[in-house]
C-alpha cells in the first residue's frame, strides 16, 4: 500500500497548498458568511479549480477528467479543510461524480461527467432525511408512473442543495435503492437553504409528487453497490478534510501557545499543555495513516476499501474533534471570540464529523460488519 506519497502526489499537494492558501483562505469564508453570500461559495474559484483539474480529479480521462484517484482527491480535501474553503468539491466532484461513474449508463456518463469536470454543472446528492446519517433508513419513494417515476419524500443536510444545477436523489423503488436525476426547478421540488453553524452550504429538499422521465434513473433500480462506493468515497474525502481542519487547528494552537505569555512565560512551556499537545500530535499522525490507508485502498480496488473508509471516518471524527476542542481551550479567552479562527474550525469540524456518519455511527457499523 502506498502510504508514502509519490512524486506526482507530492507535486499535487504542493500545488494545492499554494492554491487554496492564496485563493480561498479562511478570510474568504468569513467574507462569504458576513456578506450573506447567496451562493455560499465563489463561483469563480470553482471555475479555477476546474481549470486546475480538481473538479475532474475522480473522473476518467475519456470524460474530461484527470482521473488521479481518491488519494489525490484527499490531498485536495485536506488543503480545503486547512483553509475552511467553501466549494462544491465534495457534493459535485466526489459524491455526484462517483454516483454517476459507478451507476450511470454510458449516455448519462457522457452527458454529465464532462460538465462536472469542466465546472459547468454543480450537482448535489440528496441522501439523508432525518437528523442523523442513516442510508439504510431512506424513506423517499420512487413509484413507477407512466414511462417514468414519481418521487415523494423529504431530504435534509443536502450539501450545496440550494445552488445545484442538478440534483441526484436517492429513493426506494420496488427493486431497491436507486439514484434519480432531478431538476431542482421541477414541479413539486421545494428547496430551503439552511444556514449552518459552519457557514457552509446545506439545504432541506421536499419532494412532492415530483415526476421524472425514465432516463432520470441513473443506471438500474438496484444501485446498492454504487451507493456504497459513493459513501466510501465521500467518507474518505470528508475524513481527509477533517484531517486538514484538525491538523491546522492543532498547528495554529501550538503556534499560539508558543507566543502567548502568562505568569511571565509562554503558556506552551507548561508541561501539562505540552503532554496534551504531544498526545494530540500522536493522534493526528495515527489519523493521517487512517486516511491514507483508506483512500489508497479505494484506489486499489481493495475488497475492504469501503470498510476502511468507514473506519477512517470514525477515527477522524474523533481526532479532529479533539483537536478543535483542545485548540479552543488552549487559546483561552480569545478562543471564544469570533475574531480568532479557532472557533471556525470547531464549527466546521462539528459539521464534517456529522456528515456521512459520525464516529459513533461508524464504530457501530464496524461492530456490525465484524459480527459483534
Amino acid at each position: 500500500m502506498a502510504l508514502v506519497l509519490n512524486e506526482d502526489e507530492v507535486m499535487l499537494r504542493d500545488t494545492a497548498e499554494g492554491f487554496f492558501a492564496e485563493k480561498a483562505p479562511v478570510k474568504a469564508l468569513r467574507t462569504l458568511r458576513d456578506t450573506n453570500d447567496e451562493t455560499g461559495f465563489d463561483r469563480a474559484l470553482w471555475s479555477e479549480m476546474a481549470d486546475m483539474g480538481f473538479a475532474g480529479i475522480a473522473i476518467g480521462e475519456d470524460h474530461g477528467g484527470v482521473d488521479m484517484g481518491f488519494q489525490a482527491a484527499g490531498l485536495l480535501a485536506e488543503q480545503m479543510g486547512k483553509n475552511l474553503t467553501a466549494s462544491p468539491f465534495l457534493s459535485t466532484a466526489i459524491l455526484a461524480a462517483t454516483a454517476l461513474r459507478e451507476a450511470g449508463s454510458d449516455a448519462q456518463k457522457s452527458e454529465w461527467l464532462p460538465k462536472i469536470a469542466s465546472g459547468e454543472t454543480v450537482m448535489a446528492v440528496a441522501l439523508d432525511e432525518g437528523p442523523k446519517h442513516n442510508p439504510a433508513g431512506i424513506e423517499t419513494t420512487a413509484e413507477k408512473s407512466g414511462n417514468g417515476f414519481k418521487l415523494n419524500g423529504a431530504k435534509a443536510m443536502v450539501v450545496d442543495g440550494h445552488v445545484a444545477d442538478q440534483l441526484i436523489v436517492a429513493a426506494k423503488t420496488d427493486d431497491g435503492l436507486a439514484f434519480f436525476l432531478v431538476d431542482p426547478k421541477a414541479k413539486g421540488v421545494e428547496i430551503e437553504r439552511t444556514i449552518m453553524v459552519d457557514a457552509h452550504n446545506a439545504a432541506r429538499i421536499d419532494l412532492n409528487d415530483v415526476e421524472v422521465d425514465g432516463d432520470a434513473l441513473i443506471g438500474e433500480t438496484n444501485a446498492e453497490d454504487a451507493l456504497h462506493k459513493m459513501l466510501a468515497a465521500g467518507r474518505g474525502i470528508v475524513a481527509a478534510e477533517l484531517l486538514g481542519a484538525g491538523s491546522e487547528a492543532f498547528r495554529s494552537t501550538v503556534e499560539y501557545i508558543k507566543e502567548r505569555k502568562q505568569f511571565g512565560v509562554p503558556v506552551g512551556s507548561f508541561q501539562a499543555l505540552q503532554h496534551r499537545s504531544s498526545h494530540l500530535y500522536s493522534e493526528l499522525e495515527i489519523a493521517r495513516s487512517a486516511v491514507l490507508g483508506a483512500l489508497t485502498a479505494l484506489d486499489a480496488g481493495d475488497e475492504n476499501a469501503n470498510r476502511y473508509c468507514s473506519m477512517a471516518k470514525a477515527k477522524l471524527g474523533e481526532v479532529a474533534k479533539l483537536a478543535a476542542l483542545e485548540g479552543v481551550q488552549m487559546h483561552g479567552g480569545v478562543g471564544m471570540t469570533d475574531e480568532y479562527d479557532i472557533g471556525l474550525f470547531l464549527k466546521r469540524v462539528r459539521v464534517l464529523q456529522e456528515l456521512l456518519g459520525d464516529a459513533a455511527y461508524h464504530q457501530n457499523d464496524y461492530a456490525k460488519a465484524n459480527k459483534f
Partner: protein, 393 residues
C-alpha cells in the same frame, strides 16, 4: 430554628407564591431574553416579569438571606432552602439575576463599610442598579494578579487609566466593581485595590466582543482618566487581592453549577428513535450518554455534599476549584452529546426550526465555562497546590 417552624414557614411561602407568582413566570427560562437582570435601562420582557420582581423585592426574597435593613429578608440558610424548593415546585423563575446579588453583595457584606452597604445593597436587592465585574485584562488571562490598570492618587480621588476584557455585560451595566493597581512597587499581589464606580463616569467606554456563539455577552472596557472618589474604595487600599480571591471562589461555585436541562437521553431518543430492543438506535452514543448522566447525578450529589460540609463548619477551601473544574468540563461534555443527539438539526444556525441555532449557540457558549472564572488548568493547579500539596505546584 426547629423543624416545626420550618414547616410553618413552608406553608406560608407556598400560600404566598400561589397567590403572587404570575403564571407566565412559571415557565422554563428559554434563553437570556427571559432572564431579569434589572438596572437603570432594563426593559422588562413583560408586565409579569416586572410585577414578579417588585413583589419578590418587597418581601426581601430577591436576596433572602441578606439583612432586612439592606433589602433582604434575614432568612436562615434552612429557610432559604425551603423558599427555593417551593419556588422549584411551581417552576417559578428567579425574579432577579445579577452580579450584584451573586458576587458584589456577599463581598460588601463582608468587606464593605456601613455607608457602602446602605448605599448599594438595597439597590441591588430591588434590581435598580446592574453591576459588572472588572477583573481580567488583556495579556493577563488567568494571571489575575499581574493586572496593570492604574489608579493614580489625587488626594480625595484616583484617576484610573487602563483596559479590562471579558467584562460581562459591561455595555448594559450601571456600575462596575473593579480591580485597579494603586501601588506597583511591591509584589504582584500587593498594591491591588477594589473600587466601585459608575459606568456613566466620563472616560468609561464598553465595546462588546463578538463571540463564536454569535452573541456578545462580554466587552472590552476602556478607562481614560476616570475619576473615582476615595470613598468608593472597598476594604483597605492595596489589599484588594483578598476581596478578589473571596469573589473568585464565589464565582467558581456559581459556574460549576450548571442550570438543569432536559436529560440528554430524551433528546437523543426523540432524534434517533429506539431500535427493536427499545434501545437508542445508536448504541455508541447511548454508552456515552449513560456515562455522562451518571456523572451528572454524582456531581449533583457532590455539590450538595460540599455545601452541607461547609454549612457544618468545614471550609470548602480549594474544593471550590474541584467543583468548578468538574462541573464545567462535565457541562461541555453534556453539550457535545446534545449536539451528537440532535445531529443535522442541531447544526442549523439561522432558522425558526432551530430557534436561531439555540442549541448550537448554547453548545458554543459552554466552551467558555472552562475558561471564565479561572481556566480548568488553573483549577487543577490550585488542587495540586492546596489540596494535594504537590511540590512546586
Amino acid at each position: 430554628m426547629t423543624d416545626m417552624n420550618l414547616d410553618e414557614f413552608r406553608t406560608e411561602v407556598r400560600g404566598w407564591l400561589a397567590e403572587n407568582c404570575p403564571e407566565e413566570m412559571r415557565t422554563p427560562v428559554e434563553g437570556d431574553q427571559d432572564v431579569c437582570w434589572g438596572g437603570r435601562n432594563f426593559e422588562f420582557q413583560s408586565e409579569a416579569q416586572k410585577v414578579w420582581l417588585e413583589r419578590m423585592a418587597a418581601k426581601g426574597w430577591t436576596v433572602p438571606t441578606w439583612p432586612t435593613e439592606y433589602g433582604g429578608a434575614g432568612l436562615s440558610r434552612a429557610e432559604e432552602k425551603v423558599l427555593l424548593s417551593e419556588m422549584r415546585k411551581i417552576n417559578a423563575r428567579s425574579p432577579l439575576t445579577s452580579f450584584g446579588i451573586w458576587m458584589l453583595g456577599p463581598a460588601l457584606l463582608k468587606f464593605g463599610n456601613d455607608e457602602q452597604k446602605a448605599e448599594h445593597l438595597p439597590k441591588i436587592a430591588r434590581g435598580e442598579i446592574r453591576w459588572c465585574q472588572g477583573y481580567s485584562e488583556p495579556n493577563a488571562g488567568s494571571d489575575l494578579a499581574s493586572l496593570a490598570t492604574k489608579a493614580e492618587d489625587k488626594g480625595d480621588h484616583w484617576i484610573v487609566n487602563g483596559q479590562k476584557v471579558w467584562t460581562s455585560y459591561a455595555d448594559k451595566a450601571d456600575w462596575i466593581f473593579c480591580l485597579v493597581r494603586t501601588d506597583n512597587t511591591k509584589g504582584k499581589h500587593y498594591g491591588i485595590s477594589f473600587v466601585l464606580f459608575d459606568m456613566e463616569t466620563p472616560g468609561v467606554e464598553a465595546r462588546p466582543i463578538k463571540l463564536i456563539s454569535g452573541r456578545s455577552p462580554f466587552c472590552e472596557t476602556f478607562f481614560e482618566d476616570v475619576k473615582v472618589p476615595k470613598e468608593n474604595l472597598v476594604g483597605e487600599e492595596n489589599k484588594g487581592w483578598t476581596i478578589a480571591k473571596y469573589l473568585l471562589t464565589h464565582e467558581r461555585e456559581g459556574i460549576g453549577a450548571a442550570a438543569p436541562m432536559r436529560p440528554i437521553h430524551e433528546v437523543a431518543a426523540m432524534s434517533l428513535g429506539l431500535d427493536e430492543s427499545d434501545r437508542l438506535a445508536d448504541p455508541m452514543l447511548r454508552t456515552k450518554i449513560a456515562e455522562a448522566e451518571i456523572d451528572d447525578w454524582a456531581f449533583g450529589l457532590t455539590m450538595a455534599r460540599k455545601l452541607a460540609e461547609s454549612k457544618a463548619g468545614q471550609s470548602m477551601g480549594a474544593d471550590s476549584s474541584m467543583l468548578k473544574y468538574y462541573g464545567t468540563e462535565l457541562n461541555k461534555r453534556k453539550f457535545e452529546l446534545m449536539m451528537d443527539a440532535a445531529g443535522h438539526d442541531g447544526l442549523e444556525w439561522e432558522s425558526e426550526r432551530s430557534r436561531d441555532g439555540k442549541l448550537a449557540r448554547s453548545w458554543l457558549r459552554t466552551k467558555a465555562n472552562s475558561i471564565e472564572g479561572g481556566t480548568s488548568e488553573i483549577q487543577l493547579n490550585i488542587i495540586s497546590k492546596h489540596i494535594l500539596e504537590l511540590p512546586g505546584a
